[in-house]
Symmetry: D2
Subunit: 374 residues, 4 copies
C-alpha cells in the first residue's frame, strides 16, 4: 500500500480526478488466461454508480468501463482472456457539470480533505473534490471485479448493517434483500423505513454515517503473511483507505474487548465430512493474520458526508474566518455506495494474498489432517 498503488503481487494503481477527462486504473500482476470482458466488470460498477436512486448523488455517469490493455483472444478457447500484462481500465467522465466554484474553492468544508490537500501539496483541484472525490472508488470496484475472478469459488457480499441509530436485526438477515432496496440492506423491515429517514435528512440539508459489513466465503485457508503482512492488517488498510471510513473491525471486532477467553475462542470439532468445523466465528475467519477457511467477516464505519447544506463555521485559505454551505450533488449517506466498494477492496486483498501464498508455499498444504508431501 503505497501512494496510489495497493497490493504486492496483485497490484492496482488508480489515477484521475472527479472533473478531469477520465479516471482509470492499471492492474498489474494478474494471472494470465483468465476470461475477462467489460461485461465481467460493468455489473459491479452499475451497483456503485451514482444517480440510481434519490438517496445518492444525482450526478449522471454511465460509468462505462473500457479495457485498454492486457487482454487478448485465446486462440484455443476463443475467449478473451488476460495476458499477464498490465490491464488498464478507463472510465470517461461525462457529467462534469460546468459550474461556478468561486463559493467553495478557497474555503474548507469541515470534515473534508479540502484542507489537508492544501496543507500537504500547497494546492488542490477543487472541482468536485478532485482526486479525493468518491469518484476514484469506481476504479476500486472495477479492480475488485477482476480480483474476484482470480480465486476459485470466492464469494464476496456486502451489506449496510447500520445507518445512524438504525441497525439491522440479524434475525431478519436475508442476503436476497440486499439487491432489492437502494440501501444494500439485508433487513427488509429496516430497509422499508430508511427511505423516509433519508428523505428527512436530505430535506434538512444534513447527512448521516453508516456501518457496512462484508463477508467473504470460499477464502482458502492459509492466506495471509505473519506479522506485518497479515490478512487482517491488509484488510484494515484497504477498508480504512476508503473515503470517509473511520473504523474497521474483523469478526467480533470491538465487542471482543468485552469477551472472556472462553466466550471468544472458536471451538473446533470434526464434521461428518471429516473436515474441520468451527462452533462459532468470533475470529471472523482470521487467526494470527492467516485465514482459517471460515468466512472472512469485516465491518467498517463510514462517517457522514461532509458536504452539507447546513452552514458551518470554517476558515478560508487566506486565514480568514468564514462560513460554508455546500449546495452541490452529494450523497446524504455515503455509506450506501460504500457497500460495493468495500466488497471490491476485500476482493483485491484476498486475490493478492492468494497469489502471495501460491508464491511462497505453492499449493496450500492440505494440513491439518492430511500432511503435505515432504
Amino acid at each position: 500500500m503505497s501512494f496510489n498503488t495497493f497490493g504486492h503481487l496483485f497490484r492496482v494503481t488508480t489515477f484521475g480526478e472527479s472533473h478531469g477527462p477520465a479516471i482509470g486504473c492499471v492492474i498489474d500482476g494478474c494471472p494470465p488466461r483468465i476470461p475477462l470482458r467489460e461485461a465481467d466488470i460493468q455489473p459491479y460498477l452499475d451497483r456503485r454508480r451514482p444517480g440510481q436512486s434519490r438517496y445518492t448523488t444525482q450526478r449522471q455517469e454511465p460509468d462505462t468501463v473500457r479495457i485498454i490493455s492486457g487482454v487478448f483472444i485465446d486462440e484455443i478457447t476463443g475467449a478473451q482472456v488476460t495476458t499477464g500484462t498490465p490491464i488498464a481500465l478507463v472510465i470517461d467522465n461525462l457529467d462534469q457539470r460546468s459550474k461556478d466554484y468561486s463559493a467553495i474553492k478557497d474555503k474548507y468544508r469541515p470534515g473534508h480533505a479540502d484542507l489537508t490537500y492544501d496543507i500537504k501539496y500547497g494546492l488542490r483541484d477543487y472541482r468536485g473534490g478532485g482526486r479525493q472525490s468518491a469518484r476514484e472508488t469506481a476504479m476500486r470496484v472495477a479492480a475488485g471485479a477482476v480480483a474476484r475472478k482470480i480465486v476459485p469459488d470466492l464469494k464476496i457480499r456486502g451489506a449496510l448493517v447500520q445507518m445512524g441509530p438504525h441497525r439491522v436485526d440479524r434475525a431478519r438477515w436475508d442476503w436476497d434483500e440486499v439487491d432489492k432496496n437502494p440501501f444494500f440492506c439485508p433487513d427488509a423491515k429496516l430497509a422499508a423505513m430508511l427511505g423516509d429517514y433519508l428523505d428527512d435528512l436530505r430535506k434538512k440539508g444534513s447527512s448521516i454515517g453508516a456501518v457496512i459489513e462484508v463477508v467473504a466465503e470460499g477464502v482458502p485457508p492459509g492466506l495471509g503473511a505473519p506479522i506485518y503482512g497479515k490478512l487482517d492488517g491488509d484488510l484494515a488498510a484497504a477498508l480504512m483507505g476508503i473515503n470517509a471510513v473511520k473504523g474497521v473491525e474483523i469478526g467480533a471486532g470491538f465487542r471482543a474487548a468485552e469477551l472472556s477467553g472462553e466466550e471468544n475462542g472458536d471451538e473446533m470439532r470434526i464434521g461428518n465430512d471429516g473436515k474441520l468445523r468451527f462452533l462459532s466465528n468470533n475470529a471472523g475467519g482470521i487467526l494470527g493474520g492467516i485465514s482459517t477457511g471460515q468466512p472472512v467477516v469485516a465491518r467498517f464505519a463510514v462517517k457522514p458526508t461532509s458536504s452539507i447544506l447546513t452552514p458551518r463555521r470554517t476558515v478560508d485559505r487566506y486565514g480568514h474566518e468564514t462560513e460554508i454551505s455546500t449546495t452541490g450533488r452529494h450523497d446524504p449517506c455515503v455509506g450506501i455506495r460504500a457497500v460495493p466498494i468495500g466488497e471490491a477492496m476485500v476482493a483485491c486483498v484476498i486475490a493478492d494474498h492468494y497469489l502471495r501464498q501460491r508464491g511462497q508455499v505453492g499449493d496450500t498444504p492440505a494440513w491439518p489432517f492430511a500432511p503435505p508431501a515432504r
Copy 2:
C-alpha cells in the same frame, strides 16, 4: 507492509521466535546523525516487559536491548549517533523455560494462531508460540523508540480505556495516572478496581479483552499519502497487525456511523495566535488520509488471551477431536501490554510518513495562510 517488514522509507524488519536464542529487528532508512543509545530504547522495553506485576505473564526476561549496527561516534559532537545504515537491535531470550510441550504441540488452542500456522506452512514452532508469540512485539517497541526520535516534538502516549465491561470515565482522565498503575489506566478510580477484577479472572483460569487508545501530539500537518498510502490506512494496518487486535478506529471511529454531518465535521476558527484552530476532533487528526495538525487519535480492540486454563473443545493436527487447557505463563489480559506496543506502531507509521512527506514535498508547505514559495 509486507511479510515481516513494515514501512516504506522508515522500514522495520523483525525476526526471532519466542524460544529461539534471540529476537531482533533491522531498522533501515533511519536518518543519520540522530543521537541513539541503548538507554534511549530500554525504558520503552521496560514498560512492555513481562513479569512486572502479577497481572502479566510471569516469564522473567530482562529484555536488554543491544545495538549491533548503524551507530557511530560523531566526532564533532562526541555523541553516539545513527549513521544512516541499518540499525540492528537484538534481545537475547533468557527464560526459555525448559518444558514438556507434548500436551499442546499437536493440539490447537481455540482462538490461537496454532492452527493457521500449521495450515499455512505445514508445521510450526510450538515452543511458547514460536513466531506468533507476543514476544515479537518487543522489537516493535524497540523500533518505536527509534521512530520517536525522528519527528521533532512528537509526543505519543497510550492508555487502556476499557477492560471487559469496565470503561474509563473520560472526565477523570489523567495522563499522569497511566504510569502509576500496572494497567496503563488514566482513570485512577477504575485502575483501583481492575486489580481485583483481574485477580478474580485469573483464579477462574479465564481472560478478558480490552480497548487501547493512543494519542499522538505534535504530528506535523500534511503527513499521509492519498488513496492507498493514507496515514489512517497505514495506522489501521499497523495496529490491526498487533497480535490479538480485532478492531481499529480513528477519532470518532464507529461512533461516526451515528453522527450527522453537522455533528461530525470539525469546525474551524483562527486562534489568537493567527493559527488554525479546530472546535472538535472527531477526525482524530486525519482528513482524507492526511494529518491536520490536531492530535492523531487511534483506538484498537484486543481480544482476550486464547491460552486459558478452562478446558475447551478442539481438534488435534491428525484430525481427532480432543480438549485443551493451557497451563503456561500467560497474561490474563494481553490488552495491558498492548499499550506500549500500540504507541510504538503509531510512532513507526508517523516517522515513515514524515520521511515520505519530506521526500515528495520537501519541507511541509506553510499553507494554508502562508503560501509556500513558488
Copy 3:
C-alpha cells in the same frame, strides 16, 4: 522495480500494447507545484518517434501525449502545475496497420521475446509485438520528461557511441552534433558514414547492434542508497530493462578490469573555488553506489533487431521445425532510438533517488568541508 512499475518514491507504471487502442503510464509520487504541460513532454517523444528518417521503422505515429490527471492551474502563478497526485499520460495508437499475422503468430523469431511470453503466460498478443514492442518505451520517454523537471539543474544527454564495428572518435565528440544527424551521433565524421552503412544493412534485410552513452550533469552528490539501493544498481536495472539491452556499464566499466588501482582511483584536489575537484572520472560519478557530484556516465549495449528479412531456422508453438522471415516495419538498428530512452531511464532513476535522499537525510549535507548542522 517490480512488474510494470519502477521507482520507489518517483514511481512509473506503464501499460498498453503495440496494437491496442493506446499506451500510457501513471507517474506517482511526483512533487507538487512543478510546472507541467504537454509541451514539456512532447519534444522528448518527438526525438524517439518512429518514421522520422529512413533508418527507423516507417510506422507513422504522431505520438501525441495527453495529460489525463495530476495537473491543475496554480491560481497564484497562473501556471499549470503538478498537484502531487498521479499523473496519467496517454498516447493513442493510430497506425495499427491492419495486417495478416498468420505467417508469424505461431512462430518464434530467434532472439525475440515471442517465445518467452508464450512460455511464461501460455499466450501472447502477437500483433506488432504486443506488450514487448518497443512502442512501450514511448511512455518511458514521457515519464523521463517529467523526471527531468524534478531535480534542479539536472542535464541529461545521450549519444550513440558505437554501431557495429564503428565507434566514435572521442577527440571529435561534439554534443551539438547529436541532434544534427538521425543517429544521435556526436562524431560528425562517423555520422556521415553511418547512413550508407545502414542502407546497406537494410538492403540485405539485416540489422546491427549499438552502444549508447548517457551523461547526467548536475546530479547532486549524495544520491543513492547503500548496498541494495545503489544508484548504479538502479541505473543498471533501468538500462538493462530497456528492450534489447544486453550490457550496462558505469564510468570505466568493463575497462576497469584492466586498470590498476593507481590508474582507476580518481584523485582529488581543491579547486580555486574551494570546491572538491576530481582529476579523472573513472568512477562515472558514483562511488559505493552514491553520487560524487561528478557527471554520471552510463553506457549500454543494444543487440541487433531480431525482426529481419533473412530467413532463420526456428520452431512453431506446436513443436514443429520451420523457418521465419520478418517483413514488417522494423528499425535496422534499434540502438538509435534507444538514445532518448536511455536518457529517460537515467532521469527517472535520478529523480527517484533525489526524492529518496531528501526523505531520508533532508537537504544534502554540505559535507565535506562545511559540516552539516548538528
Copy 4:
C-alpha cells in the same frame, strides 16, 4: 531493491559493519519445509572467506554462521527445516584488529566510498570501511546458499575469466579447475601464471581489476517479469550492487553491439527428445526479460581495490589537499572473492523470480508444444 533489502518475494535484508560486533541478514519469504542447517550455508562462506591464500586479505575470520530463527524440526521427517518465518543469520566479527585509524579517518581514498558516505550522511564508520566494507558480502553468500535450495535442480557456478590483461582461453575451460586454484579460474594454464602476476602487484603496493562470469543451469523457463521486473534487469541490479562492480552483461553482452541480427538471434530446433533446442546462446538464457530454459550467463567487471600502498593525491574532510597511502589488509584483486558473491546474487534473483512466477502463473505452463490446461 531498496536500501538494504533486495528481492520481492524472497527478500534479503543485511546489517552490520566491518568492525562492529557482528554482521547478519534476515531472509524473509522463504518457502517452508526446506531442509536447512548451518552446514548447508558454511561451505559457501568458506569459499568467500578471507585469509585463505596470500592473494586475499589476511584478516582472519572463521565466518561461522549461526541460524537464529526461522527453522524447526519437522517431526514427520526429523529434519531441521525452514518454517516460512524470517530466517536470521549472524556471523560474529572476531578479528577487528585494534588499530590506530588517525591516519585515514579524515582522508578519502581515491576510488573509495569513504567520500560519498561522508557526503551523504555527514559521517561514516571509518573502521575497516564500516558498512561499505566487502565484509557485508558474506551475508549475500549466506543468503545465496538458502536461495539455491529453493529452485529444484538449479546449479550455479562462477569463474574468474579475466584479471587485468589476462583472459581465460575458453577452449581450456574446465569447471573442475575452478576450485583447484585460489583464483576460481577455469583455465589451469592461466591460473598457473596468475600467482606470480599477483605477487608482483602486491609487492608494488598496487591492485588490479577482473571479470567474473556466472552460469546458472536448470533455470526454469518463464522466470522474469516483463518491462520493469525483467530477470536480466534484476540480475543487473544485483550484480552492479556488489562492491566495486562497474559493468554487467548478459549472454553476448557488449559484443552484441557488433553482431548482425543473423549472428545474434539464437536459432531453434526440436531435439531428439522432442524438446526445444537452441543452436547458440547469445541471449544468455534470457529473451524479453524472461528465461528461455537455456543456461543464464552473466558477466561483471570488478574494478581494482582502491586501498593501495602507492601514495595518491586526495583531500581531507576539512577541505585540505593531502596524500593517502593505505597500509591495511586488503585484497590486491577483489575480483577473486567476487566469484562466490556473484553466484550468490544470481541465486537470490532466480529464487525470487521462481516464487514470483509461481505466484502469478502457478506452475510454469508446459507451453510451447504442450499447451497449459484452460
